[in-house]
């Protein structure tokens, strides 16, 4: 099976770079799988799961990412996201605290900007919690 080069970069580290057979990215309207020789593409990545299959392996590696973008060009995929964590790295307590905090703030009066801000933090916390539950 042919492979292609994937580079997954978060703000604080280069999470993965190497050849993979397939990568699944979360998009605003669903999942998007990219295989080798995909057409050139630029897409927005929503916070959620990224799955990829390394060359010569059958297992899927899973990563929880924040929002960002992905670029497919000349059989190379570059994914730039705010955060990237493996399910083991997620701090459940911190995530649930963040969720509680966000929910509490949503109940109070806020400006539109604050509202968007809390909604975004809530979404991030939920995504992390979902990921850690799946792992258990």
């Amino acid at each position: 099976m042919s492979s292609f080069f994937l580079k997954l970069i978060a703000t604080d580290k280069v999470y993965y770079q190497g050849r993979v057979r397939s990568v699944v990215l979360p998009e605003t309207d669903g999942q998007h799988e990219i295989l080798a020789h995909h057409e050139n593409l630029i897409m927005a990545v929503k916070g959620g799961w990224v799955k990829f299959q390394k060359e010569g392996e059958d297992t899927w590696e899973e990563v929880i990412v924040g929002c960002g973008m992905a670029q497919v060009a000349n059989n190379r995929v570059m994914v730039l996201v705010e955060t990237a964590e493996s399910p083991e790295e997620i701090d459940v307590r911190r995530a649930s605290e963040a969720k509680e905090r966000a929910e509490e703030q949503l109940r109070q009066d806020q400006s539109i900007r604050e509202y968007y801000h809390t909604q975004a933090s809530l979404a991030r916390a939920m995504e992390r919690l979902k990921a850690s539950n799946k792992n258990l």
Binding site: V14, H32, M43, M69, L80, R113
Partner: protein, 295 residues
């Protein structure tokens, strides 16, 4: 020649200052270690982000989007230009703050209607003292930059940009080139300039085809806020590392020159002491001689 006591006092005061500069040197060098680690972690993202954005701007079809410069014909004649200035919270960092502030002042002269968003306590005081209006709500520290702080900064900037309060946004920060050189950089964050990339393309070269999923407009709407957040974060990390580096070097120089001064004063002190002894001996001998002659 100064008296030995004066020299001793002087040496003591220099010694006290030396202790402070030396301590500050040690603090900033340990902070620098942390900052540099973070900078190393962030640099791949920061540079890839800028590279990717450039590539996207080269390929994006002709769409009207609020984040693009062709949107400008809808904007007023007099442009409100925002400058996000990144300074340190404290001074004693060599030319670090000075360079940033100088660049900011120069740029402000050219703008129709400049607005200042200052990060860092020192920069805020500087502009307040000169009675230059700065945004008071914009109150963030530059210590230990975090992604959530970058997000909040971006939210505020994008919000005001979308409301039409700001027409252009620039960021003035310091980039760390290597351990000894730092450059003050001004980067336009918004609106994105697409036009300038069309010019660079040599004749006969066709652009590769790029598709956008689901649509260019939707992609730009989600990507641009992320890009700005990423850029702000990267710039904050670069600035923080530069600040620590500048302070470390400034304190190193201060410690070195204090040591030089101490050395010079030491010689001066020895001379003064020797002169005093010689004088005393001369006096004693002269006195003894006078006594002898009396007999």
């Amino acid at each position: 020649m100064a008296s030995t006591k004066e020299i001793k006092d002087r040496m003591k005061s220099i010694n006290d200052t030396l202790k402070i500069t030396n301590a500050m040197y040690m603090i900033s060098s340990s902070k620098l270690k942390k900052a540099r680690k973070r900078l190393e972690d962030t640099e791949p993202y920061f540079f890839s982000l800028q590279g990717t954005m450039e590539r996207i701007l080269r390929h994006v079809p002709d769409i009207k989007n609020i984040y693009f410069d062709n949107y400008n014909d809808l904007r007023p004649e007099v442009k409100t230009v925002a400058y996000v200035v990144v300074t340190a919270d404290k001074g004693l960092a060599g030319a670090y703050n000075h360079n940033v502030l100088k660049q900011a002042e120069e740029l402000m002269k050219e703008a129709d209607e400049p607005r200042l968003y200052v990060l860092g306590e020192l920069g805020r005081h500087y502009f307040e003292k000169r009675n230059i209006h700065i945004d008071q709500q914009f109150h963030y520290t530059v210590q230990n930059p975090s992604l959530s702080r970058a997000r909040r900064i971006t939210e505020q900037l994008l919000d005001e940009y979308a409301q039409g309060k700001l027409d252009e946004v620039y960021m003035i920060y310091t980039r760390m080139d290597n351990a000894v050189t730092e450059t003050t950089v001004t980067q336009k964050i918004l609106p994105l300039e697409r036009g300038k990339f069309d010019m660079k393309l040599p004749a006969g070269v066709t652009l590769e085809n790029m598709n956008f999923s689901p649509s260019p407009e939707a992609v730009m709407d989600t990507i641009v806020p992320n890009y700005v957040t990423g850029f702000v974060y990267g710039a904050l990390v670069e600035s923080f590392a530069s600040e620590q580096n500048a302070r470390m070097m400034a304190m190193e120089t201060a410690t070195k020159s204090a040591k030089n001064m101490l050395h010079d004063l030491d010689i001066l002190y020895n001379r003064a002491r020797q002169a005093a002894i010689t004088q005393e001996i001369t006096e004693v001998i002269a006195g003894a001689k006078a006594q002898k002659n009396k007999k």
